[in-house]
Amino acid sequence: MANERTTPVLRVEDLSVRYEPRLGTAVDAVKHASLTVSEGEFVGLVGESGSGKTTLAQAVLRLLRKPGRVANGRIWWGEDDVTDATENELRPKRWRDVATVFQSSMNSLNPVVRIEKVFTDVITAHSDSDADAAHERACELMDMVRIERSFLRMYPHELSGGMRQRVNLALALALQPKLVLFDEPTTGLDVVVQKQILDEIRRLQAELRFGAILISHDMGTILDFSDRVAIMLDGEIVEDVATDTLLTGGPQHPYSVHLLGSYGELLGEDVEGYDAAGLKAVEEREEQVAQIQEAVEVPTIVEITNLVKRFERRRGFRVEHVDAVTDVSLTLRKGEVTALVGQSGSGKSTIARIITTIESPTSGQVRYHPEGGGEPWDITRLNRKQRRVYGNAVQYVFQDPYAALNPALTVAYQLSRPLQNYRGMTKQQALDAAAELLEQVGLTPAAAYLARLPHELSGGQRQRVVIARALAPDPTLLIADEPIASLDVSIRAEILELLQSLVLRRGVGMLYITHDLLSAQMLADHAIVLQNGQVQEQGPAKEVIENPQAGYTRELLDAIPNPFQDRSVA
């Protein structure tokens, strides 16, 4: 569909961007990158955080700020070389040649003016249309992204995240730009809303035929949307091929192989040349679980019956109720993984917080079955000793490994502290045990990691440390709250594999909280789908995912693109 004869809407040649801070050494964030976008072409740009994709976007938009600067190469918008253009030369071209939708929809609209004002500002800055004409155009644009025109009279904070991003999309199209650059446009939105926004982008792009660059770290979306995929690693574009070629012929660069492979592994697809992280296939795992469960009757760890959590919020003299969790029952057993799936606000984290006794239930019961039998304990009425035992038995793996570790303390300290506190070890014993834990979570040799501070570790390594810390008190139940959500795609499979192996080897139970059915399928034996605090569906994970009954489950499943399947069908 790319027309060879017309000038591409964007051409970047041999571009290098260098950050030269006053203190410290200069860093090349983008190295010799070349990228071309033809009219109406959809280009996907993938890479992990820190790979330089946003810097590239800033350079393309000519919005680089000090200390960053273009060190080498040229940028064309259509036929104009804009590499050295002054702001005054650029201004009339901006938003006509290249428009953009930014990452955080929260702050990209001026918070103190009505939405209409933002539209009229942009429209009148580029044309001599009067207020009426601008209003007319704004209304058209709102129709285009399917939002009521009356929302123009509102302020940004009165709109939901998804709505705001639609408004941003409408705003980007205000002047019928030749190229729109989407910089992670759905980050921070709910899965289902993400899907809606992306669909909207796709529909409008097909209709209006603007060139598009979609920056994302979500391999699925990129493969699903783009005509062509560019993969970035450490500031370099290591792969730039048509999407079909990537899927059929396989990627060339080892990093692309890894990226595509680890993504494919989650979908259960093989990618040639990819050395799998070793996630066990569903059947194999079932076998193993069955073996474990056959040997002994599977002991229950935590049993939840008819759990209700109601939050109260005072508004003046009125009290509003929000039911975060309504009548949820579930049982967590040893050696089993139960997935709690739902969008944000579905109440899944509230359940986790209740199990960890951070919150107390409004009604219903949470009972803990202590090891070695005996009467189950009601976790809201634990005495000091029981509280200690329970605190050992239930451990939490946090979502964001960047925030879950104290940045000022070494790995050794953070791991040995719970050992000393909970298991009464001496300092030396605790250090030895900490080293062993690191080996268990795949950080070998342990000695190399003990003395490090969190900022010296990568995201994946940090998450491994967080998991090791959760294992330190020798728990029987792990609560993993979106453990891979804030990790880069290429390491998600590894972390899932680690969690899986812990369940199989140590026989711990796990409550796996996620919005992503895909990973639930890989890891979980049971799945519970939550919406607005209510259980929509529950049962064996395989059945729930392969044969969903509730409409909401299907909605969640639809939100997951599977480019491998799409292509093979087509």
């Binding site: 702001e87 938003w95 953009t100 500002d121």
Partner: protein, 328 residues
């Protein structure tokens, strides 16, 4: 609408608390004001006739009563604007004394504050827009330096140079030998007298606004909506003023009311230095003469002014920040 109702509620509540504290504090402190006054009037250190004290007490309205009755009476008197009789300016009432001084201070501080706000906001905005430029460094470093100086020290330098050495402006008083009245001569006289105290306050008053505005504006300039505005090719002026400054102004407006209190306390020393016939000088006099009714009344007036200012600012905030109206 609820926002305004709540803000009004808060205002009334704080005002009531201030009024009540004002009633309680003198009753909690050791020493009997009536005794102090008798000593002052008679000039004796020795024994005092108790009947004299009783008489003074009755005159000041400090008769022995139940605290609640006294409180009720106090509120009634306050409602009628009756703040008692000044010891220092006996037999003038406190109300009259303050009525004389207040316009001077309001004029001096009001004008300085508004000028300081305008100048500070403007300089702060410009420094932030041209951040890391020479102008920015000059403003930032200069502000930090001047901000550490005491206003009465600055006042002495100014007094010495501009009044004594150069003789351009009169050194003391609120006006000279003209007769008060609405004529040009008197207005000019008042202005020339007010210039030096105002200048002294103006050296430090804008600094809070400059630094506050600069810092919030630098932060706002990093915001996504600014990048979007720039990507959309809006004119610089629009981006700087309509987008960044408009948002950065919000916290600065809040600090307007708070800094009014700071400025008023700074004016106490400055007014004394220039012998300016305002509230600050009055406060000094009241303190050194242990004129409790006057001190109380000055305190009350000051609190009321600052409270009212922050109330007005709160209401204004609802207008300029749509988010505040809706927040819980």
């Amino acid at each position: 609408m609820r926002y305004y109702a709540r803000k009004t509620g808060y205002f009334l509540l704080t005002l009531w608390a201030a009024v009540t504290l004002n009633f309680l504090i003198p009753r909690l402190q050791p020493g009997d004001p009536a005794e102090v006054m008798v000593r002052q009037l008679t000039g004796r250190d020795g024994e005092i006739d108790p009947t004299q004290i009783e008489a003074v007490r009755a005159m000041l309205g400090y008769a022995d009563e139940n605290v609640f009755v006294a409180y009720w009476k106090y509120l009634q008197q306050l409602a009628q604007g009756d703040l008692g009789v000044s010891f220092t300016y006996y037999p003038f009432t406190v109300g009259e004394v303050i009525g004389q001084a207040l316009p001077w201070t309001l004029g001096l501080i009001g004008v300085t504050q508004i000028l300081a706000f305008l100048l500070g906001t403007f300089l702060g905005t410009y420094a932030a827009w041209r951040r890391n430029s020479r102008f920015d460094s000059f403003i930032s470093v200069g502000s930090t330096f001047l901000g550490n100086l005491q206003s009465f020290w600055i006042g002495m330098i100014i007094l010495f140079v501009l009044a004594y050495e150069l003789g351009w402006f009169p050194a003391v008083g609120g006006y000279g030998y003209t007769t008060p009245g609405w004529n040009w001569l008197f207005v000019a006289d008042v202005l020339s007298h007010a210039f030096l105290p105002a200048l002294t306050l103006m050296v430090t008053a804008p600094i809070g606004f400059i630094l506050g505005m600069r810092n919030t504006m630098v932060q706002e300039l990093g915001g996504d909506y600014i990048r979007l505005a720039q990507a959309a090719g809006l004119p610089d002026r629009k981006v700087a003023l309509g987008y960044a400054a408009r948002n950065a102004l919000l916290p600065t407006v809040t600090s307007f009311a708070l800094s009014l209190g700071v400025l008023m306390s700074g004016s106490i020393l400055v007014e004394q230095l220039f012998d300016y016939p305002g509230m600050g000088r009055l406060m000094g006099e009241a303190t050194s003469n242990r004129d409790f009714p006057l001190m109380q009344a000055i305190l009350l007036t000051t609190i009321t002014i600052v409270l009212t200012a922050s109330f007005v600012v709160d209401l204004l905030y609802g207008v300029i920040d749509p988010r505040a109206r809706k927040s819980r």
